[in-house]
């Protein structure tokens, strides 16, 4: 009888202790409660190429300040023009702000016709993380030519809209297609039409800091203008260096106009080595 009681007590205590032990062990058996955060899709690192926009936007609350130059003399003018650096220059200053991760609003001004451009860009969709990252966006703006050239009205208005398709191939080669519409491309003419242009851009990322970039804008022709100031398509190529808060682009280009309402219309000079000009874009990202 005593042995039976012993066995019952032993079994009961065993069950109790094992249960308690299991419960305690379970408490110690901590498990991760969430997966690592998904990192944002990246195709182009910068919100802009030489001139064309990319679908990249900024993080909510970020500011972007830009200063860009395009030098008038061609590099081919040699030492007399300091290989293009003598100037004068077209200058562009810009400021953009991201109220959300997907929306970028900005203002840019260039001294060519004192063109003042109010713009917005929206990143619509993205995907392909881990495979073939892609991104889509739209941008648009209204431009006022506050120092109108001969033939144009004061503050003559232009407007444009652009669809942006970007994809990253093989982790290093980003490609963009930017079909664009431009209202009133030739402000020196009385007619105010809508033209269409096609922007193509690509960027080869050599490292996280350095890349080659190139872009081409197929613009409509305007044979009724004399001189044919928008006769040619625009081509640009160069390098981009990026740090944690800057993009530095150094370019050769036949297009010295920088605001969208201007470069989309075309270029005065052909894309030939003798016509290449030096340009740079410097952008600084800020967060207050």
């Amino acid at each position: 009888m005593k042995a039976a009681v012993n066995r019952i007590v032993l079994y009961s205590l065993t069950a109790l202790l094992l249960t308690a032990s299991a419960l305690t062990a379970q408490e110690r058996n901590w498990e991760r409660r969430s997966a690592p955060v998904d990192v944002p899709v990246t195709v182009f690192h910068s919100p802009q190429s030489a001139n064309l926009p990319t679908a990249e936007t900024l993080q909510s609350g970020e500011w972007l300040f830009e200063i860009s130059h395009r030098f008038f003399p061609a590099v081919s003018e040699g030492a007399d023009a300091l290989w293009g650096f003598d100037g004068p220059v077209y200058n562009r200053l810009g400021l953009a702000y991201a109220p959300t991760d997907r929306l970028l609003i900005g203002i840019v001004r260039t001294n060519l016709h004192d063109n003042l451009d109010l713009n917005a860009k929206v990143r619509i969709a993205e995907g392909g993380q881990g495979a073939t990252p892609w991104m889509m966006g739209v941008s648009g703006g209204v431009a006022f030519n506050t120092e109108a050239p001969l033939g144009a009205d004061d503050n003559e208005v232009q407007a444009y809209g652009q669809a942006i398709f970007n994809v990253l191939l093989g982790d290093r080669f980003a490609v963009g297609v930017v079909p664009s519409a431009l209202y009133n491309p030739t402000i020196r003419l009385a007619t105010r039409e809508v033209d269409f242009a096609l922007g193509l851009n690509a960027q080869l990322y050599l490292s996280e800091q350095a890349s080659f970039l190139a872009e081409w804008v197929v613009s409509p022709t305007h044979p009724d203008l004399d001189p044919a100031e928008f006769e040619h398509d625009s081509g640009s190529f160069g390098i981009e260096l990026e740090t944690g808060g800057h993009f530095f682009k150094v370019l050769l280009t036949n297009q010295i106009r920088m605001n969208p309402a201007q470069y989309l219309a075309g270029s005065l000079d052909a894309f030939e080595a003798g016509q290449w000009r030096v340009g740079f874009n410097v952008t600084r990202l800020l967060h207050f």
Partner: protein, 212 residues
């Protein structure tokens, strides 16, 4: 009715031996030890602070998780036996305020696709009285960043908060100790020495999900 004295009286030599084995087997999980989990609903914050010559910035995240086990003595000065902890920070969530810099942190330096977490595991080395109800707790263990593990000692201030505790820790690490290369070009603005600040809350594991 079976009382403890009754058990003792009823227990023969084989029963006592069996009980001894059972108690030894379950000793690591002593009933007095208490496990706490990081309260994911609390205002936790982890800061990676870089103070370089040209520019200071900090990466901030709330994504810290892990557990702390207090030994038999609980959080009492001088009592550290049976304590251990494991903490991890999701490095991919670090936000410096600038998306581009976040990407550089993730891709260039921390390589979060390969090493998504910074981890710190070890045990308490010392508990002493601090100021204003806080206790000074020193933890010694292994800090893992970028796939490299280093032994470190970290001092934290710990105070009761609700049913659990709040812990605040601050310490420095050298990125070079963790095989993180900083490009040697003038416009890179990341310091080798990074200060880590942790401020987080833990609640008893059995109350997880409840408000403290």
């Amino acid at each position: 009715m079976l009382t403890s004295s009754g058990i003792h009286a009823a227990a023969g030599p084989s029963l006592r031996a069996g009980l001894a084995v059972l108690l030894l087997a379950t000793a690591p999980f002593g009933a007095a030890a208490q496990e706490y989990h990081v309260d994911l609903n609390a205002d936790n914050v982890v800061r990676f602070i870089s103070e370089a010559t040209i520019e200071d910035f900090e990466g901030v995240t709330e994504r810290i998780d892990g557990f702390i086990v207090l030994g038999d003595g609980g959080l009492v000065s001088g009592a550290t036996a049976g304590s251990d902890f494991y903490l991890e920070v999701d490095l991919g969530s670090l936000d410096t305020g600038i998306g581009l810099r976040n990407r550089h942190m993730r891709d260039n330096y921390l390589e979060t696709d390969r090493f998504p977490y910074a981890t710190f595991s070890g045990s308490f080395a010392e508990v002493s009285e601090g100021n204003d109800g806080w206790k000074r707790v020193t933890g010694a263990g292994d800090l893992g960043i970028h796939g490299v593990s280093r032994s470190v000692e970290v001092a934290c201030d710990v105070a009761p908060a609700g049913s659990g505790f709040r812990a605040r820790c601050s310490f420095e690490v050298l990125l070079s100790d963790f095989d993180i290369e900083i490009p040697k070009v003038m416009f890179m603005k990341l310091a080798d020495e990074i200060r880590l600040e942790l401020d987080f809350f833990v609640t008893p594991a059995h109350l997880e999900g409840e408000s403290p």
